[in-house]
């Protein structure tokens, strides 16, 4: 019944009628550059098979020719790369899931120069040299290349092996597609829209539940899509399917998602779904996201995920044309494709007989059924005999023939005779394993069921129902799946406290397993044939590899998995895991149930990074924070740097200036005239309440309770272990109101730290913390002319030196804008920090800068700020301190007169009092032109022996324009006892001699602050 009129390769294996493809809609596509035709409704796999193409890939390790094995997501071999344009290339797609459309451009992978002739196939000839654990055993030396990341493995072997043993290539350039994401909640999530899933969704929807039904295929229906003769409740399955879908769609409370894979189950019933929106469309749906990530929180989940057929393990079982029997049936009934014209069915199940009879009825010549078991069920055998199929029971397979496609199979018959049968396809029926990936991810326990030769769900799991083949009903009639689905839907309703209209007894789905369809364990392979008997097709793991692992002492299946890589490929062992366990069980002589199974991990099938990232790309990946002054700084040509999430102006170069020149100019301007600086990123917390002073006194090392209104204090924050975690200025605006600043990157951390103590340790204190970082723009005006610049611009602010003294603050107006004016300095010069409501920040900064420029001042950025504070020995928390330094180590006050504050008790622990703790000091290089490298190690000796303990490291290092030489801050063990002594900084270019000095390089007495 094969159409014969399409010319060579032209759908020669397409049936004249039947299937769900649309023969009136031809679709043209290319595979490896060659043009083919399929029909709307085809997958790439079905269309290639219709054209007689079985060879679709080369295997991972041995580069063996490989063909299509399955018809669904479990496909291990037929991985292809789909190219849409040079940036939109997707590797490792399963041809069984790629829907064809006009213009589809797919290519095979892991072959050079071509699929039919591949140099890498040399590996296959050498396969005895590549046993399990080959890489671990072989690529160890030579030692002279070093070890670990710099060793021979990383430098020589790995790059070569990665080129040879590979899958598809990931595109190098950015993905130009867009992706979307959505969060959703539902009462019942039904996974799988086969007969069981449809029935479950219907039952739940009829009971009033909000239902989401997701299926990975293009259409809902599951097994019904390839089952033309099946009847449900007296009507043809196709009609029932249409009716069920229409009924579901009529509920406003039901969402049906096709082309949607539920790839992961996460705690508290969160499910990850990926919906493929445009890959199947010829024009890729311009403007539409390519995929959508759904994060669904479901109160109850029904797993109607079906079952996956297992291959059989025999020599040559990986040749193109050797495939799953159930897949052959699917290709026939769903796609109208015959996978061959002469087939041998190798089986350990009765369903193999049924499929053989079915195929025979549709014109395939079944050369034989080779049953690896002793005997089959009577009904199955009778059906096959009626179709005139020769049956051989109790056989073993000796091998298959053919190069790029199977052409024969050799059998050892029960009576000892050997037989060679010509065949263009060999169909394997090894039983089916319930698809319990999600059940296992939900931490449901799986137990080995010897009758089914499969893992089944053991105990009921809260909030989870199983339905259909997933329960173990793997060979049962569709009516059973339908009934079990209805039961699951009703069970879901009951669990949610809703009543269903169904009448099926609760729990039926978990209990009413029919007698197993006499599946027998995988027939053992003769020892000398194990090397050619593949278990994991995608990772090229053979029966021999598993035996070797067991012989070498591996016992845990998790270890065997990692040693042999079985089950570790992109298919995660969907077709191989049970066969691997069975084989290991045989080698070790232990029951499969004792060996257990490896962990099922999300995702069920690979998910694109695009879908997982969704909208969080580009500027939305890690959004930056900009100050209100940012646009003005950009207009001034500032160069920016990232500081935590902020973009800050680093320096303001004049035309032709280098960074070094610009920073030197900005520093000198602050020292001699005036500089204007955007300090808006400083964290700001307002602390208000009758106990605000008490609270801050307990939080900071410094005395806050005694701080007068109108005054500020530099304050150090410790964690309870006594280490400096932040610093800032605490200003008392009134008896009950404080304005507290934090470091730029510490703002959120400090607020959380304070909230923690306020809420959980000192809940009796009445005060409230409010972040006001973004409410205030801050302009620092620093330098000897700061007062002169500011004076004409303020109202209600007395700037007189003896009124607004250093560390005093007041409120008034600046440029007519309400302002908090703090006289503080992070430069060592006379300075003010003007806080204005954020919306005025840009105007105030610009006006103050103009005023400053009229007296020779300038804008300065963070780099100059760093240099200026280092000249004064002021620390930056996180640069000069690293979370292991106490205030004593840093030469800061330790709050000795206070009874308690967070961290105080720790400061008197014995380890905190030893004299060789790291201490902050200044360093001067002998040659003032040399600027040390931050992070450089410091030693006592000029030529320390290898392995000598470094006594400290450089934390900050700059060229100081005002001092005309380099300066550095460092922490050195017991450093303050070594003032004036010489230490060494060994660098690749030579040892640098440095002298230990006080960290206050400039104006050590601080007279300029009080100008």
């Amino acid at each position: 019944m094969i159409e014969d009129d399409k010319g060579p390769g032209g759908n020669r294996f397409r049936t004249a009628s039947g299937g769900r493809i649309d023969r009136s809609q031809p679709v043209r596509f290319t595979f490896d550059g060659r043009a083919y035709q399929g029909y709307a409704g085809d997958t790439l796999a079905s269309a290639l098979l219709a054209n007689g193409v079985h060879l679709v890939g080369r295997s991972f390790k041995y580069h063996r020719p490989r063909g299509i094995v399955a018809a669904g997501p479990e496909e291990p071999n037929a991985l292809v790369t789909v190219r849409r344009d040079w940036r939109r290339t997707t590797p490792n797609l399963r041809a069984t899931e790629v829907e064809i459309h006009d213009g589809l451009d797919a290519v095979s992978q892991n072959r050079f120069p071509s699929l039919r002739f591949d140099f890498g196939a040399l590996n296959d000839r050498l396969s005895p040299l590549f046993p399990a654990g080959f890489y671990y055993k072989t690529f160890m030396g030579p030692e002279r290349f070093g070890r670990g990341a710099s060793g021979a493995w990383a430098r020589i072997y790995e790059p070569v092996i990665r080129r040879m043993a590979g899958l598809g290539r990931a595109p190098v350039d950015g993905d130009t597609d867009s992706y979307a994401s959505r969060h959703a909640h539902c009462d019942v999530l039904v996974v799988g829209a086969g007969p069981a899933g449809l029935a479950a969704a219907l039952a739940a929807a009829e009971g009033g539940a909000r239902v989401m039904l997701a299926d990975e295929q293009a259409e809902a229906g599951g097994s019904l899509l390839g089952a033309p003769d099946v009847m449900i409740g007296g009507e043809p399955a196709a009609d029932w399917r249409e009716g069920a879908l229409a009924r579901l769609m009529s509920f406003e409370t039901v969402t049906v998602l096709t082309r949607t894979t539920v790839f992961g189950a996460y705690p508290d019933h969160l499910f990850g779904l990926v919906e493929r929106l445009t890959d199947h469309l010829p024009d890729q749906g311009r403007g539409v996201p390519r995929e959508r990530l759904w994060q669904v929180r479901a109160r109850h989940v029904v797993l109607a995920t079906g079952a996956l057929e297992r291959p059989l393990v025999f020599p040559g079982n990986d040749r193109p044309g050797v495939m799953l029997a159930g897949a052959a049936a699917t290709y026939l009934h769903r796609y109208g494709v015959l996978v061959g014209t002469r087939s041998v069915v190798v089986t350990t199940t009765d369903s193999g007989y049924r499929i053989a009879a079915d195929l025979a009825e549709h014109g395939v010549r079944i050369e034989a059924i080779a049953d690896l078991r002793g005997r089959a069920g009577e009904a199955a055998e009778a059906a096959a005999r009626a179709a005139g199929i020769p049956i051989h029971g109790g056989v073993s397979v000796l091998g298959t023939g053919g190069r790029l496609r199977v052409s024969s199979i050799r059998l050892a018959l029960r009576d000892g005779r050997r037989e060679r049968l010509e065949a263009d396809s060999v169909l394997m029926s090894g039983g089916r394993s319930p698809t319990l990936h999600l059940f296992s991810q939900l931490r449901g326990r799986l137990v080995w069921d010897a009758r089914h030769h499969a893992f089944l769900a053991q105990d009921p799991l809260g909030g989870v129902s199983l339905a259909g083949a997933a329960t173990g009903l793997v060979e049962a009639p569709v009516d059973d799946a339908f009934e079990s689905g209805t039961a699951a839907g009703v069970q879901a309703l009951a669990a949610l406290g809703m009543s269903g209209v169904g009448t099926v007894a609760l729990g039926a789905s978990m209990q009413s397993l029919p007698p197993a369809d006499s599946v027998v364990p995988v027939a053992p392979v003769a020892r000398h044939l194990e090397a050619a008997s593949f278990i994991d097709f995608q990772n090229d793991v053979t029966a021999k590899d598993l035996r070797l692992a067991a012989q070498e002492g591996f016992r845990s299946i998790e270890h065997i998995k990692r040693y042999t890589t079985t089950g570790m490929a992109t298919d995660q062992g969907k077709t191989s895991n049970v066969n691997a366990l069975s084989h290991v069980s045989g080698v070790l002589g232990r029951p499969v149930g004792d060996i257990g199974h490896t962990t099922f991990r999300a995702p069920y099938t690979p998910v694109t990074f695009g879908a997982l990232a969704a909208e969080c790309r580009g500027t939305l990946f890690d959004p930056v924070r900009l100050t209100p002054i940012d646009p003005a700084a950009r207009e001034r040509g500032a160069i920016f740097e990232a500081v935590g999430p902020w973009q800050r102006a680093r320096y303001f170069p004049k035309p032709g200036e280098t960074m070094h020149q610009a920073v030197a100019r900005e520093c000198l301007a602050v020292r001699t005239s005036v500089g204007v600086f955007d300090a808006s990123t400083l964290g700001k917390i307002e602390v208000v309440g009758p106990d605000a002073a008490t609270f801050l006194d307990r939080m900071y090392v410094n005395a806050i309770a005694s701080l007068p209104v109108g005054r500020s204090r530099y304050a150090i924050l410790l964690n309870e272990a006594g280490f400096v975690i932040d610093d800032g200025i605490v200003s008392r605006l009134s008896d009950v109101r404080f304005h507290v600043t934090t470091t730029t990157t510490g703002a959120a951390r400090v607020l959380a730290h304070m909230e923690d103590y306020l809420q959980t340790e000192f809940p009796e204190l009445r005060c409230w913390l409010t972040s006001v970082t973004e409410q205030w723009a801050v302009v620092a005006v620093q330098g000897p002319r700061a007062r002169a610049v500011l004076a004409p611009l303020v109202e209600d602010v007395d700037l007189a030196p003896d009124v607004l003294v250093h560390m005093a603050q007041t409120e008034g107006r600046v440029l007519g804008v309400p302002a908090r004016v703090f006289r503080v300095s992070f430069t060592g010069e006379l300075g003010y920090e003007i806080n204005v409501p954020a919306g005025y920040g840009r105007a105030v900064w610009s006006a103050l800068l103009s005023a400053a420029e009229r007296v020779g001042g300038t804008a300065y950025g963070t780099e100059a700020m760093h240099v200026l504070r280092a000249e004064k020995g002021y620390i930056i928390v996180g640069q000069d301190s690293d979370g292991t330094l106490t205030p004593r180590d840093l030469g800061l006050p330790v709050g000795e007169r206070k009874a308690d504050f967070v961290g105080k008790r720790s400061l008197s622990r014995s380890d905190m009092l030893v004299t060789d703790r790291p201490q902050l000091v200044g360093l001067e290089t002998e040659d003032g032109r040399v600027v040390l490298e931050e992070g450089a190690q410091i030693t006592r000796d000029s030529a320390p022996a290898v392995g000598t303990h470094a006594v400290g490291h450089v934390t900050s290092a700059y060229h100081s324009a005002v001092l005309g030489r380099s300066i550095a801050l460092a922490v050195i063990e017991g450093g303050r006892a070594h003032l004036g002594e010489t230490f060494h900084v060994p660098m690749p270019s030579g040892v640098i001699r440095v002298k230990v000095v006080s960290p206050a390089f400039y104006d050590p007495k601080g007279g300029r602050l009080h100008g």
Binding site: D268, A752, E755, Q759, E761
Partner: protein, 100 residues
């Protein structure tokens, strides 16, 4: 992603709204100065780290901003109950928890 019931908001909210904040019921001494070095070191650094039910603190940092306590099973991740700081630790019937 866990769902955590915030006892202040009275809502089940996703884990990403919260930040973990260490073991609960580790009380800071009223007068730390009176603590011995050993007792203070224990307060600072030693935690119970049980396999099973664990009383721990979470901060609803992207929600109401309040701290809360939760009893979570460290094997199954199930949170049996959440409650406000200062309230006594509830006892959990082990039978009610899912077995690991």
């Amino acid at each position: 992603m866990l769902q955590i019931r915030c006892p202040w908001c009275g809502e089940d909210r996703p884990e990403i709204e919260f930040r973990y904040a260490g073991e609960a019921h580790v009380v800071r001494a009223r007068l730390p100065a009176d603590e011995s070095d050993a007792a203070w070191a224990e307060y600072l650094y030693l935690r119970t780290n049980p396999k099973g039910w664990h009383a721990e603190r979470w901060h609803h940092v992207h929600g109401c901003g309040r701290f809360l306590n939760a009893i979570r099973h460290t094997v199954t991740d199930r949170i049996a109950v959440t409650y406000k700081p200062g309230e006594p630790r509830p006892t959990i019937d082990d039978q009610q928890g899912p077995t690991p």
